[in-house]
Symmetry: C2
Amino acid sequence: MPIPMELRRIIISELDDHQIVVLKETDGERNFPIVIGIFEATSIDRRVKGMPSPRPLTHDLIISVVEQLGGEIQDILISDLQDHTYYAKLRIRHDGELIEVDCRPSDAIAIAVASRVPIYVNEEVLGEALEDNE
Amino acid sequence: MPIPMELRRIIISELDDHQIVVLKETDGERNFPIVIGIFEATSIDRRVKGMPSPRPLTHDLIISVVEQLGGEIQDILISDLQDHTYYAKLRIRHDGELIEVDCRPSDAIAIAVASRVPIYVNEEVLGEALEDNE
């Protein structure tokens, strides 16, 4: 059963190659960090702060492509955790079908923030994430 | 009339925020530079060098989304030049129609290189680009 999550924090360190986003349960306090790249972290950070961008960025382009092909982004799902690596899916409604496109959590979260769709994580992934970060 | 172009050079300087790709006419010697960001430059450079990526990157995600929504990327077009800024279109075949999605040239070129589709530039843009860089 997927759990609704929200973005709690973005930790950006220019001195480090690895940035961190923290996802927190919408209806609770369980939370876990995901390590992402500087490009995605900056992209997410700009959105959250409502900073305008003079030109559509790469994640906006994904949203445009989906819309112009007649799809609608329904939500994103952090679907799996293997060897400390998270996997995600972009879930798109198209012609009455639900299409799941594999992607990195960083892209998924950037798209969710940009297109204001919900973020979910599979219950078992949340459990494993909490163990991983104990 | 769009002119077929190819990627001639990628100039990456870690000390600079602005990287450069040079597009050259496929059937001639006319060429011009486009300034792009480090993320897109690195993404293009990795493809050209055939460096494997452990996980699908953001431009791969765009290609997956197009394919899974039943589209096919036909080519990319550098369509316009205004105030020294280039504009591009991702041209997608979908249900027998040609759909043009506005994007930055850097994303367009990264997608063209990743999905091995042709790069075009409008004749008048090429003319203006050459004047701009005289």
